[in-house]
Amino acid sequence: MTLLQVDDIHVYYDKIHALKGISVRVEEGEIVTLVGGNGAGKSTTLRAISGLLHPREGAIRFEDKALAGIGAHHIAALGIRHVPEGRRVFGRLTIAENLDMGAFTRRDRRAAKDDREQMLALFPRLRERYRQLAGTLSGGEQQMLATARALMGKPRLLLMDEPSMGLAPMMVEQVFETMGRIKAEGVTILLVEQNAPMALAVADRGYVLESGRIVLEGAGRDLLGDERVQRAYLG
């Protein structure tokens, strides 16, 4: 079943035409990745989906609802969680409070409490630092917290923007391994990455973006083996 359908969207920053007709399809239970260089439009696509930007043309459908033009908080309430680039945790709140903020839209407080336990089981490092200010965490820990915070909202679809950026190689591996476990829990993931080899290895399907257009699409493994991708990103 198709969970998310992005149809030929165009996004402008003032006069700059950032997305020139992007179409992406995400099936339930998949990991789909968008890869490409700097400025290709990967993050912009995610921001358009989560409602932080509004496309000038085109349509976005989540299940059977049209997302274009509705507020970011409404989209969040539908079950889409965006983990923005750069590990933006609430630095002045503790880890516990950050997790609680993730459950902001939920009414079932008790279940949210159980989920918090589950998050701490998924990321044991967070339990060790539970009462600490999030701003004092290391980069990798902040990425864990940002992901856990998004999962606290029980999303159907998780949008992850460059989760491996600026992390130590060991941490990068851990991030991708976690993604597999999140998928196993039944959460669909749309992943944006500059680290194309890792992303394509973990993804079911992938899209290659170049200056606001999709130039290639296919199964993750096929793209990984594709000559053009090899040349452009895997050097």
Binding site: A76, H82, L93, F104, E128, L133, G135, T136
Partner: protein
């Protein structure tokens, strides 16, 4: 040769430092003299015919220089004395220069009266050595107090008490004046109308020192053993008791000052919601205060342009409600504006309200520059709340309710949404927080408290004028939040007392008191940027390092499993 050279260089550095420290204090003294503060202080006695406030200031500066300069072990006393001398040297030179040149046309404050103060009434030849000697003695005392911290701790309370009793003598006398009998007798013994008597000063010093010793011995151990949080609670309790009881026993002047403090507390609580919690830097806050005041005026006043003649209690809620509406309207155009830009934009909005009130366009309703007159006082049954003390208690109740509401808000869903928006708008929205609604609520609720303050302000003054609603009020409210501690309720109270109450009490020093106000702001931001009473979050931020260290040391900070 070389070694001696190095030794000399080392000593030279030490002595140069001593002299520079002294001269820095001296420059301060010189500045105070040149702008006229010193002479003004000199005209106020602390102890009649013995010590003026100006003299005390110079001596304190010299003593401070001595204490700061005395660092070495062996030559501590020499350094202290040199520091003290250097601190008065600029004044001595100034005195000589005033003999030789006519400086008063340039520096109007350098008058013969100042010269008389600096020469101590001695002939010029004896004056300079005498002044320098006094500086040296004060510097020595400073160095000695630094060398003997226990002694200085024992002497400090008495000295401070004498200083406070001297500086605030008018106020205290006004307060004591209402009483006859034993209190009156004490007053006559301690004070004349111009300041402390000599025997009064000695008595105050001795009594306070003795009490501090007795009381200090008894409680020191227990206070030290207390948790910091508990200690704070006790301090807050004492402060609250003083605030509640003081106006009743101290009379209407103090009541008036405290009432003003209370109004600023109300506004501070409101702005704290906007700035401290939601991170919306608002410099147009006075607009809501004005809306509250004018609404109450137009609904109650006995004036031709009044709309109705409602009783105060009916007008107050309407004023608050209208302020909320204006707050929401005010928020709409600046929804997408952040940070410094928001400060400038809101400043503009605040000015718009003032200009409308002042304009010919609004004059038929709002009275233009003449404002609205004859606003009645609130009635409580058959009792009219007309005295400043009664109105103070009204403000106190309002502030208490406001503080309670603000405290509940802080820990509510809305409060958490504000904090999330303050830290990161994008992430907050992506987590499902409604940006528009949360921001508009912050403006609206913040405005509610300002509207309430404005409503009380209108009935307190019995009239409202556009000139009461200057930008300076917004800035004052923001400053008191920052000085008190951003995002902290007790901080708002403390900030109001320090920034609004103290300058009012120092009114006799005229415009000079703003000089102190400015100095306090600068010193505060240097020494305690987190504010006098920071919120727990800020506290945590500053001590985040400690906690990490504790964790690394294996401390157990894990949550209890539920």
């Amino acid at each position: 040769m070389r070694r001696i050279g190095i030794g000399r260089t080392g000593a030279w550095v030490t002595w140069r430092r001593t002299a520079l420290v002294g001269l820095a204090f001296g420059a301060g003294a010189l500045h105070l003299a040149a702008v006229g503060v010193l002479l003004m202080l000199h005209q106020r006695w602390i102890v009649i015919d013995t010590l003026s406030l100006g003299q005390a200031t110079v001596l304190l500066l010299a003593a401070g220089a001595g204490a700061m300069a005395a660092r070495g072990d062996g030559s501590r006393w020499l350094q202290g004395a040199l520091g003290g001398v250097c601190a008065v040297l600029p004044l001595a030179l100034l005195s000589r220069a005033m003999d030789a040149l006519t400086l008063q046309p340039i520096f109007i404050a350098l008058s013969p009266d100042l010269q008389a103060m600096l020469t101590l009434g001695l002939p010029p030849a004896a004056a300079t050595p005498a002044l320098l000697a006094l500086g040296a003695v004060a510097g020595l005392v400073g160095a000695g107090l630094r060398a003997a911290p226990r002694l200085s701790r024992a002497l400090l309370p008495g000295a401070v008490a004498v200083l406070v009793a001297g500086v605030f003598q008018e106020l205290i006398q006004l307060m004591l004046q209402q009483y006859e009998g034993p209190i009156g007798a004490v007053r006559d013994f301690v004070y004349t109308w111009e300041g402390l008597t000599q025997e009064g000063a000695i008595t105050v010093f001795l009594v306070v020192t003795l009490l501090a010793q007795l009381f200090g011995r008894a409680t020191q151990g227990r206070v030290a053993a207390m948790e910091p949080a508990r200690r704070r609670q006790i301090w807050a309790g004492i402060a609250l008791a003083v605030i509640v009881v003081l106006p009743a026993v101290a009379g209407s002047y103090i009541g008036q000052v405290l009432m003003l403090v209370g109004l600023y507390i109300l506004m501070g609580i409101g702005l704290n919601l906007e700035v401290g919690l939601a991170g919306l830097l608002d410099l147009g806050f006075v607009a809501f205060f004005a809306v509250g005041a004018y609404t109450t005026a137009l609904l109650t006043a006995d004036a031709p342009n009044a709309l109705m003649h409602l009783p105060y209690w009916a007008a107050m809620p309407v004023s608050v409600l209208l302020a909320v509406c204006v707050g929401v309207l005010f928020g709409l155009p600046v929804l997408g504006v952040r940070g410094d830009y928001l400060a400038v934009a809101t400043m503009g909005l605040g000015e718009i309200v003032r200009v409308i009130v002042l304009s010919d366009f609004g004059a038929p309703l709002l009275g233009g520059a003449q404002g609205v007159l004859h606003i009645p006082k609130p009635q409580l049954g058959s009792y009219t709340l007309s005295s400043p003390v009664a109105l103070f208690y009204l403000t106190l109740v309002a502030a208490a309710i406001a503080a309670f509401i603000a405290w509940r808000l802080e820990n509510s869903r809305l409060g958490r949404a504000w904090m999330a928006l303050r830290d990161d708008e994008d992430v907050a929205q992506a987590l499902g927080i409604n940006l528009v609604r949360s921001k508009l609520l912050a403006y609206g609720l913040g405005a509610a408290f300002a509207g309430l303050a404005g409503s009380i302000f209108a009935t307190m003054l019995s009239s409202v004028y556009p000139s009461s609603f200057q930008l300076l009020i917004s800035i004052n409210v923001l400053a008191l939040i920052i000085v008190g501690g951003m995002g902290s309720l007790p901080g708002v109270i403390l900030g109001s007392v320090v920034l609004i109450g103290l300058p009012e009490l120092l009114r006799e020093f005229g415009e000079y008191r703003y000089l102190f106000y400015g100095a306090v702001l600068v010193v505060m931001m240097r020494l305690r940027p987190e504010g006098l009473w920071p919120s727990d979050v800020r506290q945590r931020e500053l001590h985040a390092g400690d906690e990490t260290a504790a964790l690394d040391a294996g401390a157990d900070l894990l949550p209890a499993r539920e």
